[in-house]
Amino acid sequence: MWTWFHRLGSPPHVYRIAARLTPWLAWPAAALIVIALYGGLVMAPADAQQGEGFRMLYVHAPSAWMSMFIYGNMAIAAAVGLIWRIKVAHAVAAASAPVGAWFTFAALATGSLWGKPMWGTWWVWDARLTSELILLFLYLGYMALRTSIEEPQRADRASAVLAVVGVVNLPIIHYSVYWWNTLHQGATITKLDKPSISGDMLWPLLVMIAGFTVYYAAVLCVRVRAEVIRRERNASWLREELAT
Protein backbone atom coordinates (compact mmCIF):
# COMPACT_ATOMS: atom_id res chain seq x y z
CA MET A 1 0.00 0.00 0.00
CA TRP A 2 2.83 2.33 0.77
CA THR A 3 4.78 1.60 -2.41
CA TRP A 4 3.57 4.80 -4.04
CA PHE A 5 5.01 6.64 -1.06
CA HIS A 6 8.31 4.80 -1.15
CA ARG A 7 8.61 5.45 -4.85
CA LEU A 8 8.52 9.15 -4.10
CA GLY A 9 12.04 8.71 -2.80
CA SER A 10 13.25 7.25 -6.07
CA PRO A 11 14.81 9.86 -8.35
CA PRO A 12 13.98 8.21 -11.69
CA HIS A 13 10.39 7.68 -10.65
CA VAL A 14 9.99 11.26 -9.51
CA TYR A 15 11.69 12.48 -12.69
CA ARG A 16 9.21 10.63 -14.86
CA ILE A 17 5.98 11.33 -13.03
CA ALA A 18 6.91 14.99 -12.66
CA ALA A 19 7.24 15.15 -16.41
CA ARG A 20 3.83 13.57 -16.89
CA LEU A 21 2.16 15.66 -14.21
CA THR A 22 3.34 19.03 -15.46
CA PRO A 23 0.70 19.71 -18.14
CA TRP A 24 -2.03 18.37 -15.83
CA LEU A 25 -1.05 21.03 -13.33
CA ALA A 26 -0.03 23.85 -15.63
CA TRP A 27 -3.22 24.22 -17.66
CA PRO A 28 -5.65 24.02 -14.74
CA ALA A 29 -3.48 26.59 -12.96
CA ALA A 30 -3.74 28.94 -15.91
CA ALA A 31 -7.49 28.42 -16.07
CA LEU A 32 -7.96 29.07 -12.36
CA ILE A 33 -5.88 32.24 -12.53
CA VAL A 34 -7.78 33.56 -15.55
CA ILE A 35 -11.11 32.84 -13.86
CA ALA A 36 -9.92 34.53 -10.68
CA LEU A 37 -8.76 37.54 -12.68
CA TYR A 38 -12.11 37.90 -14.33
CA GLY A 39 -13.88 37.48 -11.01
CA GLY A 40 -11.64 39.96 -9.25
CA LEU A 41 -11.32 42.63 -11.89
CA VAL A 42 -14.74 42.51 -13.52
CA MET A 43 -17.29 40.72 -11.42
CA ALA A 44 -16.49 41.73 -7.86
CA PRO A 45 -18.17 44.95 -6.77
CA ALA A 46 -16.03 47.91 -5.77
CA ASP A 47 -15.24 48.26 -2.10
CA ALA A 48 -17.07 50.89 -0.04
CA GLN A 49 -13.91 52.33 1.50
CA GLN A 50 -11.18 51.63 -0.98
CA GLY A 51 -13.10 51.77 -4.24
CA GLU A 52 -11.57 49.95 -7.16
CA GLY A 53 -8.17 50.03 -5.48
CA PHE A 54 -8.95 47.09 -3.24
CA ARG A 55 -8.71 44.80 -6.28
CA MET A 56 -4.96 44.75 -5.75
CA LEU A 57 -5.80 42.37 -2.95
CA TYR A 58 -6.26 39.70 -5.60
CA VAL A 59 -2.56 39.65 -6.39
CA HIS A 60 -1.13 40.82 -3.10
CA ALA A 61 -2.77 38.40 -0.70
CA PRO A 62 -2.24 35.23 -2.78
CA SER A 63 1.42 36.16 -3.31
CA ALA A 64 1.87 36.66 0.43
CA TRP A 65 0.11 33.42 1.18
CA MET A 66 2.28 31.52 -1.33
CA SER A 67 5.46 33.04 0.07
CA MET A 68 4.69 31.60 3.49
CA PHE A 69 3.23 28.32 2.25
CA ILE A 70 6.27 27.64 0.09
CA TYR A 71 8.66 28.39 2.94
CA GLY A 72 6.81 25.86 5.06
CA ASN A 73 7.04 23.30 2.26
CA MET A 74 10.70 24.03 1.81
CA ALA A 75 11.36 23.52 5.50
CA ILE A 76 9.41 20.26 5.66
CA ALA A 77 11.17 18.91 2.57
CA ALA A 78 14.51 20.00 4.02
CA ALA A 79 13.77 18.30 7.33
CA VAL A 80 12.72 15.09 5.58
CA GLY A 81 15.91 15.16 3.53
CA LEU A 82 18.01 15.81 6.61
CA ILE A 83 16.45 13.16 8.85
CA TRP A 84 15.96 10.34 6.37
CA ARG A 85 18.72 11.36 3.95
CA ILE A 86 16.44 11.39 0.94
CA LYS A 87 17.93 13.21 -2.05
CA VAL A 88 14.56 13.87 -3.65
CA ALA A 89 13.45 15.78 -0.56
CA HIS A 90 16.52 18.03 -0.80
CA ALA A 91 15.70 18.49 -4.47
CA VAL A 92 12.20 19.67 -3.56
CA ALA A 93 13.58 22.14 -1.03
CA ALA A 94 16.11 23.53 -3.50
CA ALA A 95 13.46 23.76 -6.21
CA SER A 96 11.00 25.62 -3.99
CA ALA A 97 13.32 28.37 -2.83
CA PRO A 98 13.47 30.62 -5.91
CA VAL A 99 9.73 30.37 -6.50
CA GLY A 100 9.00 31.27 -2.90
CA ALA A 101 11.44 34.17 -2.98
CA TRP A 102 9.80 35.57 -6.11
CA PHE A 103 6.36 35.34 -4.54
CA THR A 104 7.72 37.21 -1.53
CA PHE A 105 9.05 39.89 -3.83
CA ALA A 106 5.68 40.06 -5.59
CA ALA A 107 3.92 40.42 -2.25
CA LEU A 108 6.22 43.27 -1.28
CA ALA A 109 5.98 45.06 -4.61
CA THR A 110 2.21 44.75 -4.90
CA GLY A 111 1.91 45.75 -1.25
CA SER A 112 3.93 48.83 -1.98
CA LEU A 113 1.82 49.67 -5.04
CA TRP A 114 -1.31 49.20 -2.96
CA GLY A 115 0.03 51.34 -0.17
CA LYS A 116 0.95 54.36 -2.26
CA PRO A 117 -2.58 55.44 -3.29
CA MET A 118 -4.01 54.40 0.07
CA TRP A 119 -1.57 56.01 2.50
CA GLY A 120 0.57 58.25 0.35
CA THR A 121 3.96 56.58 0.71
CA TRP A 122 5.67 53.86 -1.28
CA TRP A 123 6.63 51.98 1.82
CA VAL A 124 4.98 51.63 5.20
CA TRP A 125 6.43 49.69 8.09
CA ASP A 126 3.17 47.84 8.24
CA ALA A 127 3.24 44.55 10.13
CA ARG A 128 2.53 42.34 7.16
CA LEU A 129 4.95 44.09 4.80
CA THR A 130 7.73 44.11 7.39
CA SER A 131 7.12 40.45 8.09
CA GLU A 132 7.27 39.70 4.35
CA LEU A 133 10.51 41.65 4.10
CA ILE A 134 12.11 39.56 6.83
CA LEU A 135 10.82 36.43 5.07
CA LEU A 136 12.58 37.62 1.91
CA PHE A 137 15.79 37.92 3.92
CA LEU A 138 15.32 34.37 5.14
CA TYR A 139 14.85 33.11 1.57
CA LEU A 140 17.87 35.05 0.32
CA GLY A 141 19.99 33.75 3.19
CA TYR A 142 18.95 30.19 2.41
CA MET A 143 19.82 30.58 -1.27
CA ALA A 144 23.07 32.37 -0.44
CA LEU A 145 24.15 29.54 1.85
CA ARG A 146 23.36 27.01 -0.86
CA THR A 147 25.45 28.75 -3.48
CA SER A 148 28.35 29.41 -1.12
CA ILE A 149 28.96 25.74 -0.36
CA GLU A 150 30.46 23.96 -3.32
CA GLU A 151 29.90 20.36 -2.46
CA PRO A 152 26.26 19.62 -3.30
CA GLN A 153 25.57 17.17 -0.49
CA ARG A 154 26.95 19.52 2.13
CA ALA A 155 25.05 22.40 0.62
CA ASP A 156 21.85 20.39 0.84
CA ARG A 157 22.35 19.46 4.46
CA ALA A 158 23.60 22.85 5.65
CA SER A 159 20.73 24.73 4.02
CA ALA A 160 18.34 22.12 5.42
CA VAL A 161 19.49 22.95 8.97
CA LEU A 162 19.04 26.63 8.17
CA ALA A 163 15.55 26.08 6.76
CA VAL A 164 14.44 24.22 9.87
CA VAL A 165 15.88 26.92 12.15
CA GLY A 166 14.16 29.53 9.98
CA VAL A 167 10.77 27.88 10.10
CA VAL A 168 10.93 27.54 13.90
CA ASN A 169 11.79 31.22 14.18
CA LEU A 170 9.18 32.32 11.65
CA PRO A 171 6.19 32.43 14.06
CA ILE A 172 8.33 34.24 16.61
CA ILE A 173 9.41 36.80 14.04
CA HIS A 174 5.86 37.15 12.75
CA TYR A 175 4.34 37.85 16.13
CA SER A 176 7.17 40.10 17.25
CA VAL A 177 6.65 42.26 14.17
CA TYR A 178 2.89 42.39 14.68
CA TRP A 179 3.33 43.33 18.30
CA TRP A 180 5.93 45.95 17.36
CA ASN A 181 3.63 47.40 14.79
CA THR A 182 0.58 47.73 17.02
CA LEU A 183 2.38 49.48 19.75
CA HIS A 184 3.67 52.18 17.47
CA GLN A 185 0.42 52.63 15.63
CA GLY A 186 -1.99 52.72 18.49
CA ALA A 187 -5.12 50.68 18.18
CA THR A 188 -5.55 50.79 14.39
CA ILE A 189 -5.99 47.64 12.37
CA THR A 190 -3.24 46.24 10.22
CA LYS A 191 -3.05 48.56 7.27
CA LEU A 192 -3.23 45.99 4.51
CA ASP A 193 -6.08 44.13 6.13
CA LYS A 194 -8.76 42.83 3.86
CA PRO A 195 -11.74 45.16 3.63
CA SER A 196 -14.91 43.73 5.15
CA ILE A 197 -15.20 41.11 2.50
CA SER A 198 -18.45 39.90 1.02
CA GLY A 199 -19.10 36.69 -0.91
CA ASP A 200 -18.65 38.12 -4.40
CA MET A 201 -15.35 39.58 -3.30
CA LEU A 202 -14.17 36.43 -1.59
CA TRP A 203 -14.45 33.74 -4.22
CA PRO A 204 -12.01 35.28 -6.73
CA LEU A 205 -9.49 35.49 -3.91
CA LEU A 206 -9.86 31.83 -3.06
CA VAL A 207 -9.73 30.81 -6.71
CA MET A 208 -6.58 32.87 -7.20
CA ILE A 209 -4.94 31.23 -4.19
CA ALA A 210 -5.90 27.84 -5.59
CA GLY A 211 -4.54 28.84 -8.99
CA PHE A 212 -1.24 30.00 -7.52
CA THR A 213 -0.90 26.79 -5.53
CA VAL A 214 -1.45 24.59 -8.57
CA TYR A 215 0.95 26.84 -10.48
CA TYR A 216 3.58 26.30 -7.79
CA ALA A 217 3.07 22.54 -8.09
CA ALA A 218 3.57 22.74 -11.85
CA VAL A 219 6.74 24.86 -11.63
CA LEU A 220 7.98 22.61 -8.85
CA CYS A 221 7.63 19.58 -11.13
CA VAL A 222 9.90 21.20 -13.69
CA ARG A 223 12.47 22.44 -11.18
CA VAL A 224 12.56 19.20 -9.22
CA ARG A 225 13.45 17.34 -12.40
CA ALA A 226 16.42 19.66 -12.89
CA GLU A 227 17.48 19.29 -9.25
CA VAL A 228 17.15 15.51 -9.38
CA ILE A 229 19.40 15.36 -12.45
CA ARG A 230 22.00 17.51 -10.72
CA ARG A 231 22.15 15.13 -7.79
CA GLU A 232 22.41 12.00 -9.84
CA ARG A 233 25.74 10.52 -10.77
CA ASN A 234 26.34 7.85 -13.42
CA ALA A 235 22.93 6.35 -13.09
CA SER A 236 21.78 4.28 -16.04
CA TRP A 237 18.26 5.65 -15.82
CA LEU A 238 19.73 9.06 -16.45
CA ARG A 239 21.31 7.95 -19.71
CA GLU A 240 17.99 6.54 -20.81
CA GLU A 241 16.12 9.71 -20.01
CA LEU A 242 18.66 12.00 -21.59
CA ALA A 243 18.68 9.99 -24.80
CA THR A 244 14.95 10.46 -25.34
Binding site: L140, L145, S148, I149, V161, V165, V168
Partner: protein, 227 residues
Amino acid sequence: MRPTGLLAAGALLYGRDLKLAFRRWEQVTQPVVFFLMVTTLFPLALSPDTAQLRQVAAGIVWVAALLSALLALEFMFRSDYEDGTLEQLVLSGQPLWWLAMVKAFAHWTVSGLPLVLVSPLVAASLSVPAEAQWTVLASLALGTGILSFLGAVGAALTLGVRRGSVLLSLLVLPLTMPALIFGARAVDMAIMGDSPRGPLLLLTAMLILSLSLGPFATSAGLKVSME
Protein backbone atom coordinates in the same frame (compact mmCIF):
# COMPACT_ATOMS: atom_id res chain seq x y z
CA MET B 1 39.80 5.22 33.38
CA ARG B 2 36.39 6.73 33.96
CA PRO B 3 35.04 8.68 31.00
CA THR B 4 34.87 12.40 31.70
CA GLY B 5 31.49 13.48 32.95
CA LEU B 6 29.42 16.16 31.24
CA LEU B 7 30.17 18.89 33.74
CA ALA B 8 33.85 18.14 33.85
CA ALA B 9 34.15 18.12 30.07
CA GLY B 10 32.14 21.30 29.87
CA ALA B 11 34.26 23.03 32.46
CA LEU B 12 37.44 21.98 30.66
CA LEU B 13 36.21 23.31 27.33
CA TYR B 14 34.96 26.54 28.87
CA GLY B 15 38.23 27.12 30.69
CA ARG B 16 40.25 26.40 27.58
CA ASP B 17 38.22 28.75 25.43
CA LEU B 18 38.57 31.55 27.95
CA LYS B 19 42.32 31.03 28.24
CA LEU B 20 42.71 31.07 24.46
CA ALA B 21 40.58 34.17 24.15
CA PHE B 22 42.65 36.11 26.60
CA ARG B 23 45.78 35.20 24.68
CA ARG B 24 44.28 36.90 21.66
CA TRP B 25 43.17 39.92 23.60
CA GLU B 26 42.37 41.97 20.50
CA GLN B 27 39.54 39.64 19.68
CA VAL B 28 37.94 40.59 22.96
CA THR B 29 38.55 44.31 22.77
CA GLN B 30 37.85 44.93 19.10
CA PRO B 31 34.10 44.40 19.28
CA VAL B 32 33.97 46.69 22.30
CA VAL B 33 35.80 49.45 20.48
CA PHE B 34 33.51 48.93 17.52
CA PHE B 35 30.53 49.29 19.82
CA LEU B 36 31.85 52.58 21.19
CA MET B 37 32.62 53.92 17.75
CA VAL B 38 29.32 52.98 16.15
CA THR B 39 27.45 54.64 18.99
CA THR B 40 29.45 57.78 18.35
CA LEU B 41 28.37 57.77 14.72
CA PHE B 42 24.78 58.49 15.58
CA PRO B 43 25.12 61.80 17.42
CA LEU B 44 27.47 62.85 14.63
CA ALA B 45 24.94 61.86 12.00
CA LEU B 46 21.83 63.09 13.76
CA SER B 47 22.32 65.83 16.31
CA PRO B 48 24.01 66.42 19.66
CA ASP B 49 20.71 67.51 21.17
CA THR B 50 20.24 65.41 24.32
CA ALA B 51 16.46 65.33 24.12
CA GLN B 52 16.56 64.00 20.58
CA LEU B 53 19.23 61.45 21.43
CA ARG B 54 17.25 60.18 24.36
CA GLN B 55 14.36 59.40 22.03
CA VAL B 56 16.45 57.19 19.79
CA ALA B 57 18.96 55.98 22.39
CA ALA B 58 17.30 52.61 22.96
CA GLY B 59 17.44 51.73 19.28
CA ILE B 60 20.98 52.97 18.81
CA VAL B 61 22.42 51.11 21.78
CA TRP B 62 20.71 47.90 20.72
CA VAL B 63 21.59 48.02 17.03
CA ALA B 64 25.20 48.93 17.80
CA ALA B 65 25.49 46.10 20.33
CA LEU B 66 23.94 43.65 17.91
CA LEU B 67 26.32 44.56 15.10
CA SER B 68 29.32 44.46 17.42
CA ALA B 69 28.39 41.04 18.75
CA LEU B 70 27.83 39.88 15.18
CA LEU B 71 31.41 40.84 14.30
CA ALA B 72 32.79 38.44 16.86
CA LEU B 73 30.51 35.60 15.85
CA GLU B 74 32.59 34.14 13.06
CA PHE B 75 35.41 33.38 15.46
CA MET B 76 33.34 31.01 17.55
CA PHE B 77 34.46 27.89 15.73
CA ARG B 78 36.92 29.27 13.20
CA SER B 79 40.24 28.61 14.96
CA ASP B 80 39.13 25.23 16.29
CA TYR B 81 38.06 24.26 12.79
CA GLU B 82 41.38 25.31 11.35
CA ASP B 83 43.65 23.59 13.83
CA GLY B 84 41.71 20.33 14.05
CA THR B 85 40.38 20.76 17.57
CA LEU B 86 36.82 20.79 16.29
CA GLU B 87 37.27 17.37 14.77
CA GLN B 88 38.50 16.13 18.13
CA LEU B 89 35.49 17.61 19.84
CA VAL B 90 33.12 15.94 17.39
CA LEU B 91 34.89 12.60 17.85
CA SER B 92 35.30 12.97 21.57
CA GLY B 93 32.25 10.96 22.52
CA GLN B 94 30.80 13.81 24.53
CA PRO B 95 27.35 14.85 23.31
CA LEU B 96 28.04 17.44 20.66
CA TRP B 97 25.04 19.54 21.62
CA TRP B 98 26.50 19.97 25.08
CA LEU B 99 29.89 21.00 23.71
CA ALA B 100 28.16 23.41 21.34
CA MET B 101 26.27 24.93 24.26
CA VAL B 102 29.45 25.34 26.26
CA LYS B 103 31.27 26.93 23.32
CA ALA B 104 28.42 29.37 22.75
CA PHE B 105 28.45 30.27 26.42
CA ALA B 106 32.21 30.74 26.36
CA HIS B 107 31.83 32.92 23.31
CA TRP B 108 29.25 35.04 25.10
CA THR B 109 31.53 35.41 28.09
CA VAL B 110 34.32 36.65 25.87
CA SER B 111 32.45 38.84 23.40
CA GLY B 112 28.92 39.47 24.67
CA LEU B 113 29.67 40.15 28.30
CA PRO B 114 32.25 42.89 27.60
CA LEU B 115 29.64 44.70 25.52
CA VAL B 116 27.16 44.44 28.36
CA LEU B 117 29.70 45.84 30.81
CA VAL B 118 30.46 48.80 28.57
CA SER B 119 26.84 49.51 27.76
CA PRO B 120 26.05 51.84 30.65
CA LEU B 121 28.82 54.12 29.40
CA VAL B 122 27.39 54.07 25.92
CA ALA B 123 23.86 54.61 27.16
CA ALA B 124 24.90 57.52 29.32
CA SER B 125 26.56 59.14 26.33
CA LEU B 126 23.18 59.07 24.62
CA SER B 127 21.46 60.76 27.55
CA VAL B 128 19.82 57.66 28.90
CA PRO B 129 18.69 58.49 32.47
CA ALA B 130 20.29 56.61 35.34
CA GLU B 131 17.11 54.77 36.33
CA ALA B 132 17.04 53.11 32.91
CA GLN B 133 20.61 51.79 33.12
CA TRP B 134 19.63 48.55 34.84
CA THR B 135 17.28 47.81 31.99
CA VAL B 136 20.04 48.54 29.50
CA LEU B 137 22.29 46.04 31.25
CA ALA B 138 19.61 43.39 31.65
CA SER B 139 18.23 43.64 28.15
CA LEU B 140 21.67 43.55 26.54
CA ALA B 141 22.78 40.67 28.74
CA LEU B 142 19.79 38.70 27.54
CA GLY B 143 20.10 39.93 23.96
CA THR B 144 23.79 39.17 23.50
CA GLY B 145 23.12 35.76 25.04
CA ILE B 146 20.39 35.12 22.49
CA LEU B 147 22.75 36.20 19.75
CA SER B 148 25.48 33.86 20.91
CA PHE B 149 23.22 30.81 21.00
CA LEU B 150 21.39 31.62 17.77
CA GLY B 151 24.51 32.86 16.07
CA ALA B 152 26.31 29.64 16.89
CA VAL B 153 24.04 27.89 14.39
CA GLY B 154 25.04 30.31 11.66
CA ALA B 155 28.70 30.10 12.64
CA ALA B 156 28.55 26.30 12.40
CA LEU B 157 26.87 26.35 9.00
CA THR B 158 29.25 28.85 7.43
CA LEU B 159 32.43 27.16 8.62
CA GLY B 160 34.87 26.79 5.79
CA VAL B 161 32.92 29.10 3.50
CA ARG B 162 35.31 31.59 2.00
CA ARG B 163 34.62 35.11 3.27
CA GLY B 164 31.79 33.66 5.26
CA SER B 165 31.45 36.58 7.68
CA VAL B 166 29.04 38.60 5.54
CA LEU B 167 27.02 35.49 4.79
CA LEU B 168 26.97 34.77 8.51
CA SER B 169 25.52 38.20 9.22
CA LEU B 170 22.91 37.76 6.51
CA LEU B 171 21.84 34.45 8.00
CA VAL B 172 21.79 35.51 11.64
CA LEU B 173 20.33 39.03 11.50
CA PRO B 174 16.75 38.10 10.55
CA LEU B 175 16.68 35.59 13.38
CA THR B 176 17.69 38.23 15.91
CA MET B 177 15.08 40.79 14.91
CA PRO B 178 12.53 39.68 17.54
CA ALA B 179 15.14 40.11 20.26
CA LEU B 180 15.94 43.55 18.88
CA ILE B 181 12.27 44.54 18.90
CA PHE B 182 11.72 43.58 22.50
CA GLY B 183 15.12 44.62 23.80
CA ALA B 184 14.95 48.11 22.37
CA ARG B 185 11.37 48.36 23.57
CA ALA B 186 12.41 47.44 27.10
CA VAL B 187 15.04 50.17 27.19
CA ASP B 188 12.64 52.65 25.67
CA MET B 189 10.02 51.94 28.29
CA ALA B 190 12.56 52.32 31.05
CA ILE B 191 13.64 55.65 29.62
CA MET B 192 10.06 56.83 29.61
CA GLY B 193 9.60 55.69 33.19
CA ASP B 194 7.39 52.65 32.58
CA SER B 195 8.19 49.20 33.86
CA PRO B 196 10.02 47.14 31.25
CA ARG B 197 8.98 43.84 32.80
CA GLY B 198 6.94 42.62 29.83
CA PRO B 199 9.60 42.88 27.14
CA LEU B 200 12.29 41.68 29.53
CA LEU B 201 10.30 38.57 30.32
CA LEU B 202 9.83 37.93 26.61
CA LEU B 203 13.56 38.35 26.09
CA THR B 204 14.19 35.84 28.85
CA ALA B 205 11.83 33.42 27.17
CA MET B 206 13.69 33.86 23.88
CA LEU B 207 16.99 33.26 25.63
CA ILE B 208 15.70 30.05 27.19
CA LEU B 209 14.42 28.94 23.79
CA SER B 210 17.67 29.67 21.95
CA LEU B 211 19.71 28.17 24.78
CA SER B 212 17.76 24.93 24.76
CA LEU B 213 17.18 24.40 21.03
CA GLY B 214 20.12 26.26 19.55
CA PRO B 215 22.83 23.77 20.55
CA PHE B 216 21.03 20.94 18.74
CA ALA B 217 20.89 22.92 15.53
CA THR B 218 24.49 23.99 16.09
CA SER B 219 25.69 20.44 16.52
CA ALA B 220 23.78 19.41 13.38
CA GLY B 221 25.46 22.28 11.56
CA LEU B 222 28.90 21.31 12.89
CA LYS B 223 28.46 17.74 11.73
CA VAL B 224 27.44 18.95 8.29
CA SER B 225 30.43 21.27 8.04
CA MET B 226 32.81 18.57 9.12
CA GLU B 227 31.62 16.07 6.51
